[in-house]
Amino acid sequence: MIRVQSEDFDLAAEVAAMSGGNLAIGGVCAFVGLVRDFADDDSRIKAMTLEHYPGMTEKALAGIEKEANQRWPLEASLIIHRYGRLEAGDRIVLVAAASAHRSAAFDACRFLIDWLKTEAPFWKLEEAASGTRWVEAKGSDGEVAGRWSRKE
């Protein structure tokens, strides 16, 4: 399941809703991304605003989730990404994968967040004491996602 929303989410409720009642699940791996209070250059951050591309965001997330389910034997998967203004400490994103075996759950969960970071159209505008600034993409995100590329 994918969801794009401005509201916060409850980790336990979301994981329970995703996996509840499926007794084939042996493990759930979940990753929660949070707003840190410092930028990549170590300057202080009070808050940020996440802009996204409605329509394409949902399409990209659904595509990433589908790809994960094709690569691993998952019993359930979940992507929730927030948009709008978020303060330091707030939750930004939740990705989770459930499988009979922990290895698939871990690998799929990591794939979901790695790919989301290069495929899903979100942009962060940071609020520092000196003003606002668009976050620059990290080259390392592309490299990390590249690791998952299929060898055709």
Binding site: K59, V93, K117, T118, A120, P121, W123
Partner: protein
């Protein structure tokens, strides 16, 4: 053809969304960008460095040689920074 802009590309272009009717010589993303720069406004600044411009046509990531045609939704934005 609908153009949409996000993040600092939206700020530099000075618009979030605009309908355009480029001439027939505009056949792909690259020639669309060249044509937009000729139109003036904030487009020159928005497209000054194409290494930091990403493009989607009909909500799919594409490269500069991807074809564009009437009716398409073409989006311009910086490298994404979500998650």
């Amino acid at each position: 053809m609908k153009l949409v802009f996000f993040a600092w590309l939206r700020e530099k272009a000075g618009t979030a969304e605009v309908e355009v009717s480029p001439p027939d010589t505009v056949s792909d993303v690259g020639s669309l960008i060249e044509w937009l720069k000729e139109q003036g406004g904030g487009y020159g600044e928005a497209f000054a460095d194409l290494s930091v411009v990403r493009v989607a046509v009909n909500q799919e990531h594409v490269k500069l040689d991807h074809p564009v045609k009437a009716g398409d939704e073409v989006a311009f934005f910086p490298p994404i920074t979500g998650g």
